[in-house]
Symmetry: C2
Subunit: 469 residues, 2 copies
């Protein structure tokens, strides 16, 4: 079929969908609730149901579905756990959602090489439960118990990225089903290679628009000998952020350094029945040998005191640490609970760390002048922060106000040399910011998309628009 | 001009070359010695002279040259310092070499953000001299004082990669002149981003085949408070390699951990008039706080003793450390000096570290049975090692033997899940190994090349063959 021809209307897809129904039986569904679940992620963005869902179990099955859809130019949308935040899984042009949660095997763990290969549907908690007895862990933690395929597809990061990097640094290789059903392996298990173009990094962050990730080879780390967590509140946001900057610039290998503003701390206290000071607060974690953790902690305490940081509350035992971090992990739910009946619209931007204090302080001025509650939480060691607009999705004025604030936040981050998203990705929610961010480089992204998916069937309408759609 | 039409013959290029001569004056050359210098790198590979050389000084000038060459389908070969090792700069299809050594400005250093932007011709030593007074450094050290544009283009790494990563991890963004003369910026200074396809990583390691890199934005690091180096010899190669594996698996953040086999140590002793034991030897370096360096050193000493490592010789003062590492850095010259009148053919492979001992031991059996001297040096913390075949390039039997041994080494690395090159790159020397390494993924690389350079003018004949050439 001519790749440039107009896409057939959905009614022309029926014979192909019937073939999929025959082939996959109970693992094929057109039930409304199933389609609805697969067209909706964890964001406020309007969902869009796919026409059908296939529950695949193997790479070969994914290749079979993609091959059939390619022959009929039916859009294909990969689905992991549906925890993305920019409408990544919405079937905005209809089509078939391929649910990869059944690709749930841990293929191999190479403890000596500190790597593993898992199928795309394995979640990060499933992997870490499997690894724990071997003294290993996979550090990337975006909050949700996301699938590792989805985390690779969205270039996820999270609280540990300041120490361990993002999915960009921690994916060694991928198995990918291309837009025509071919299956490739993007790399090998060697820690480094200079043998040709970096296909692994091309597919990491491509959000299903260049192919479907079915296996992921990941770097692993030894569980540190010692771990220690702390909470410290500050008189001002600037004091907290400047402490982070000084910590990073000193080369202290902090494992986590997270900022919650006073709005978020108030929400956390209410939601989790805690009594932290309602003030800008850093949550910290140190990993290493006993001696190294103590040294890091002492260094950061001294830095915090120089910037108006109050007494540190420490937690070293695992259950204490988990309790401390639970408050951080619940922050989005705590935010939503600020206004009963509301949801949250989470946005994120990332700026060079020297601009972080200015960026957050200016953003807070915007937010203080708004009627929407909007706590700030940040992976501030990376220069990355989130704003959770607490909105009632049925109220157009809430959505309009969040849209206005979001546009200001993105424009400010771009003006400071930053990016419109540090970790949530583009989906369709941020697709129209890429022109401002990338300028002429956006045309190169479009060229790559058209080269690898000439018929635009792979998660169309995400990351880059093709012919305006 | 139709991108699929046959390339015009070099005689048809004369009008375009005349225009370049008029435009660039003394910065355009067709002098034989200049052309020869630009068609030859630091490898044994036969050189191939370009038809002309342009000494560019700005991104705009590079864009102008590429635009003119594109209009006439003249190949363009970027040239930095000519220190590549797989024939990367050879003008195998003729064309214009663009020498970027005149793009030598350090554009900005953002000390607070631990990043900098330099033009492509700035060398790593030039950058580090500039940074020293600010307490910062750029760690990637491939041995040669290469240009940072060339290091990005070849995805260079070297001795520090085990701690600090390779160019893949340390390039934040690039300015690139595309095959049609367009100029793009591949990313921003934010530490992380999920905003679209990872163009930075696509161009890192693309060896000039997708575009000409003209500016590089790099991560920087604070000069560690303490540094300590050591040398330790072992009874067996296996003991040395197993010590490395145990060190990496223990999560000790060693900054350098380099293996020299007994052949190389003998060469080093002769060349540098030293008296190290002629035995497999590790060269190590530790970075961190005083306490952390002492702790790391004690841990590695204990590991080495468990694996038959002899007494450590330590160096902590800068000049002692430099002297110790000079022996390592001179290893290639020391190898060549083993056979007067010879050069060296350096190959490298990289395997998962669990296979490293087997891979090196089996390789040494091959080498012991050969008439060619061939010392081994390895960045063993990454699973990466080099073999330097000491060859007389005028003797076909030397080249035939090195070819045979190289093919066996690559095949063994691939069979062990490794790569045909950990850091030297593909050039034209390793182009025919990519099929075995990548299988169907090689076709994807070819698709990307054809999408971004449809007329195949960007360093043709390197990385991927187009239409067999």
């Amino acid at each position: 079929m001519d790749a440039q021809a107009p896409r057939p209307t959905p009614s022309a897809w029926e014979p192909a969908l019937a073939r999929l129904a025959g082939r996959f039986g109970e693992r094929f569904s057109r039930v409304t609730a199933v389609r609805r679940h697969h067209g909706k992620d964890a964001s406020y963005h309007p969902s869009a149901d796919p026409d059908a869902v296939v529950f695949a179990r193997t790479t070969a099955e994914v290749a079979e579905v993609v091959g059939l859809c390619a022959a009929h130019r039916i859009p294909v949308i990969p689905f992991g756990t549906g925890t993305s935040l920019e409408g990544h899984v919405a079937a905005v042009h209809g089509g078939v959602s391929i649910d990869v949660s059944g690709l749930d095997r841990i293929v191999e763990v190479n403890a000596e090489d500190l790597d593993c290969t898992v199928e795309a549907g394995v979640t990060r908690k499933q992997l870490n439960n499997h690894l724990r007895d071997r003294g290993l862990f996979f550090p990337i933690d975006p909050g949700a118990d996301a699938s590792l395929g989805g985390m690779a597809a969205t270039r996820a990061s999270g609280t540990n990225a300041v120490r361990y990097g993002t999915m960009r640094e921690n994916v060694l290789a991928l198995t990918v089903v291309l837009a025509d059903g071919r299956v490739i392996r993007t790399g090998r298990r060697a820690r480094k290679s200079a043998a040709g173009y970096d296909l692994t990094r091309l597919f990491v962050g491509s959000e299903g628009t260049l192919g479907v990730i079915t296996e992921v080879t990941l770097r692993l780390y030894g569980i540190p000998e010692a771990m220690s967590s702390a909470v410290c509140s500050f008189a001002t946001i600037k004091g907290a952020v400047d402490s982070v900057i000084a910590t990073i610039q000193s080369g202290i290998p902090v494992a986590r350094i997270e900022l919650l503003d006073e709005v978020q701390m108030d929400a956390v206290n209410r939601y989790s029945k805690l009594s932290y000071p309602v003030a800008p607060t850093l949550f910290l974690e140190f990993h290493g040998s006993e001696a190294s953790v103590q040294e890091q902690a002492a260094q950061v305490q001294a830095i915090a005191q120089d910037h108006g940081g109050g007494g540190f509350q420490w937690a070293t035992r695992a259950e204490e640490r988990n309790k401390l971090w639970q408050a951080r992990h619940d922050s989005a739910y705590a935010a939503a609970a600020l206004k009963p009946g509301s949801g949250f619209w989470a946005t994120d931007v990332c700026v060079p760390i020297s601009r972080l204090a200015d960026c957050i302080v200016e953003t807070k001025k915007d937010l203080e002048d708004s009627f929407l509650p909007a706590p700030i939480v940040g992976h501030v060691g990376d220069g990355n922060f989130h704003v959770a607009f607490v909105v009632d999705p049925t109220k157009p004025e809430d959505i309009a106000e969040a849209t206005r604030l979001n546009e200001r936040i993105v424009a400010r981050a771009l003006a400071m040399g930053g990016t419109c998203t540090g970790e949530h990705g583009v989906g369709y929610g941020k697709i129209d910011f890429l022109e401002a961010e990338h300028g002429p480089a956006l045309a190169v992204m479009r060229t790559l998309k058209q080269a690898l998916d000439p018929a635009n069937i792979m998660n169309p309408g995400k990351v880059v628009r093709i012919n305006g759609a």
